[in-house]
């Protein structure tokens, strides 16, 4: 057997060439938050929602500075005005009683005596033989075959009562007038209907009073003046919708953001205490949290609102905030406790403890920052539910007291006139929906970006 000869030279003991490239990182190391931000930026929906949220905040905070209109001020000339309506008004002479004459060319049947305007509509009709009374009705919609006559204006008795002047709450729009002639027994003899397009007019004195002109000499009869601008229209009391939406946003967003902030903070404190201390105290604390969870949420919100009723001049925002915080914290505290229990067993906590870290330091430096992602996601999802709660309570009349506007109470007012002036419902409803949608999508994005375990399988 041949001996294998191995000859070693000094060169064999030279260190191998070390490749520097392997050890250097190809990219700079990213912190947790930098990584999360990059992930979030890649999510178009979440970023769009973030912009919407920022826009809403600007609308709320800066809006009233730009659009400086009192949300409680009534513009009685422009009630329930849809957005984008014609603002011009023609100056007319002060009101003069009507003697029954007609300036318009004579015609048959139900007709107008003068050009109809928002001061008065003067109707004339031919006497019906044998008629003992005439009833005049006014409707906002076409009377149609089933004779939806609308508002009964007057019952005129006597065969010669063939004229009527309507001055009741007229606004510039189309009305459908109907006249029903009856004989002495009440049997219907004749029915006529007329569509009337009312134009907006104002007297010079009124225009001066409203501040639309500087002096009476500025205008003459027949001139046109511009009524105050309401970009989003007005509500049923003639209040500016845009201003109310802005001030309503203050209430809705304040409750929507402040309440979750407070109860998440409390929940974090409570949950981390329970999770960190552990043992009997943890059991007792969590038992209490379970008890609060079991309480029916909205019933207790309503009870709380009744018990701490709203005094004169108060808006009732504070009781709602307190009730929300008192009832909503347990979910966060449970979540945080679970996280803390998990983190407590991690190696780095023990390492930190070995290095002499005190309990308080451990919680503040290691545990809470490591649960921050979960907390932030909870916070974002808590905002829509708080906004919904406020809207729900205001809708059933248990929320913010009038005249303080909130989106929920505006919906409550708007739903009553949904058929005639839908904009009073649409705008606040749209704002609630967009806000909730934006926070939901942002929450989804944050969850995907911040928490790998909760990352949805999309």
């Amino acid at each position: 057997m041949a001996e294998l000869q191995v000859r070693l030279t000094a060169a064999d003991f030279e260190p191998l060439h070390t490749d520097q490239e392997i050890h250097s990182l190809s990219r700079p190391s990213l912190s947790y938050w930098q990584d999360a931000w990059i992930r979030l930026k890649a999510n178009t929906r979440a970023i769009l929602s973030l912009y919407i949220v920022l826009g809403l905040l600007a609308f709320t905070v800066l809006g009233p500075l730009v659009w400086d209109v009192d949300p409680a001020a009534q513009d009685v000339d422009q009630i329930s005005l849809p957005p984008g309506a014609d603002r011009t008004a023609t100056i007319v002479a002060p009101y003069a009683p009507w003697s029954g004459g007609s300036v318009l060319p004579a015609a048959e049947g139900l007709r107008l005596a003068e050009t109809p305007n928002s001061e008065n509509v003067r109707l004339l009709w031919d006497p019906v033989p044998g008629a003992a009374s005439y009833s005049v009705y006014r409707s906002l919609f076409d009377v149609g075959e089933d004779r939806a006559l609308g508002l009964p204006l007057v019952d005129l008795f006597g065969a010669d009562a063939v004229r009527f002047e309507d001055r009741l709450d007229l606004s510039p729009r189309t009305y459908h007038y109907s006249v029903l002639a009856r004989d002495a027994d009440g049997t219907e003899l004749d029915f006529q209907t007329l569509e009337v397009q009312v134009s907006r007019v104002i007297t010079a004195e009124q225009a001066l009073e409203r501040g639309l002109i500087d002096s009476l000499n500025d205008v003459q009869i027949g001139d046109e003046v511009l009524m105050p601008l309401h970009p989003f229209g007005t509500d049923y009391l003639g209040r500016d919708m845009l201003s109310r939406l802005m001030h309503g946003a203050r209430v809705s967003l304040f409750i929507g953001i402040a309440a979750p902030l407070l109860y998440v903070l409390f929940g974090v404190f409570y949950g981390s205490t329970a999770g960190f201390i552990g043992g009997r105290i943890d059991q007792a604390l969590m038992r209490f949290a379970d008890f609060v969870v079991a309480l029916p949420f909205l019933l207790f919100m309503i009870l709380f609102k009744i018990a701490f009723g709203i005094g004169p001049g108060e808006s009732g925002i504070l009781p709602m905030l307190v009730a929300l915080v008192l009832l909503s914290w347990p979910a966060t505290s449970r979540l945080v406790r679970g996280q803390i229990l998990q983190i407590r067993e991690e190696g780095y906590i023990n390492a930190s403890r070995l290095l002499g870290a005190k309990n308080g330091y451990l919680v503040v430096r290691h545990m809470i920052p490591n649960t921050m992602g979960v907390i932030l996601v909870t916070l974002t999802f808590a905002v829509p539910s708080a906004i919904f709660t406020e809207a729900f309570l205001s809708f059933i009349g248990m929320g913010v007291a009038p005249p303080t506007p909130s989106w929920g109470s505006m919906c409550n007012e708007g739903i009553k006139t949904m058929l005639t002036t839908p904009h009073e419902l649409i705008f606040p409803a749209l704002f609630i929906s967009i806000t909730v949608l934006a926070f939901n999508l942002l929450g989804d994005g944050l969850r995907d970006a911040l928490d790998a375990r909760m990352r949805s399988t999309e």
């Binding site: 029916p296 009870l303 009744i306 059933i396 929920g408 739903i415 419902l425 929906s433």
Partner: protein, 310 residues
């Protein structure tokens, strides 16, 4: 199991006791006076009324009487609707709310499972995108707005066809129940759809599905017996809280659709400060919700034996 049931029941009873007590003291704390609504109440009348309703006794005595009455199941007489027992109001109007609520739960449950499964099947394809868009919309629009839109649509639909396709409001026939229960269940359905979708997608990647595929089971069989049955479990967990959401959501839907349910009476009582009705319905609703959550939790342990009831 029985120990757990007993424990949950005792906890539930304590919660209901707390609800009743909190209701009593909340009502006592209300600013104003229950008898102030009636004009020209002289001292004698006031004294008589107070004696009739027991308002002249000390608070703790009133509390004991109130608790005793609740234990006997007597909630008293309405303050605003003369000679009407709160028990009668509940007996008469709760079934209406219950039918509406059950229909809504069925609608939400079936719809949520169906749509959720569908979106998971067609993941990232057109049906998924459309349904998930609608789901996000359903979660973001408040129920009263949905109710208003639904009502408006019905009005226009009836106008379009020239006859009453579906009634716009009111109660009585199955046709009256259809749209309100759908509106009531919509938010929950949207929530359940999301939940069902993510739980379906999670299960697709699990080992037993791969095994089932490997041994050659037909895809429909895998879908129905393995995927769907397992994915449904999380949906059942949230059914308890969903029942609470649907019950309280009923307040608004009943209001908008003019349905004579207990929710509408509760809201009216709250607005008119009808003390006994508020107290009675709150305790009743509270007990109902606490009980429902317990039932759902027990049901969950029965459906999924893996969940240990402790």
């Amino acid at each position: 199991m029985w120990r757990y049931t007993l424990k949950r029941l005792i906890q539930g009873i304590i919660t209901i006791w707390f609800i009743a007590t909190a209701t009593f003291f909340a009502m006592h704390n209300v600013p104003g006076d229950p008898l102030i609504n009636d004009r020209s109440v002289t001292e004698d009348i006031r004294a008589n009324l107070e004696a009739k309703y027991g308002l002249n006794r000390p608070t703790h005595e009133q509390y004991l009487i109130y608790m005793g009455n609740i234990l006997r199941g007597d909630f008293g007489i309405s303050f605003t609707q003369k000679n009407r027992m709160v028990n009668d109001i509940i007996r008469e109007h709760f079934p209406v709310s219950a039918i509406l609520g059950i229909l809504a739960v069925v609608f939400a449950g079936l719809g949520g499972v169906l749509w959720g499964a569908l979106t998971a099947l067609y993941r990232n394809r057109l049906p998924d995108v459309i349904i998930m868009f609608l789901v996000i919309l359903g979660i973001s629009v408040p129920s009263f707005v949905v109710a208003a839109i639904a009502q408006l649509t019905l009005v226009n639909l009836n106008d379009l066809f020239g006859f009453s396709v579906l009634p716009v409001a009111g109660w009585g026939t199955l046709w009256h129940m259809l749209v309100p229960s759908m509106v009531l269940g919509l938010g929950t359905m949207a929530y359940l759809t999301r939940l069902m979708r993510s739980s379906m997608l999670e299960i697709v990647n699990s080992d037993f599905i791969r095994t089932a595929k490997a041994k050659g089971l037909p895809p429909t069989r895998i879908f129905t017996t393995h995927q769907l049955r397992n994915a449904i479990l999380p949906v059942i967990t949230v059914l308890g809280p969903s029942i609470a959401a649907i019950t309280t959501g009923g307040f608004v839907v009943e209001l908008v659709f003019a349905i004579p349910g207990l929710g509408r009476y509760f809201v009216q009582a709250v607005q008119q400060l009808d003390y006994t009705v508020i107290m009675g319905t709150t305790v009743f609703y509270g007990a109902f919700l606490v009980f429902m959550v317990i039932v759902v939790d027990l049901l969950y342990g029965w459906i999924d034996p893996r969940v240990r009831l402790e």
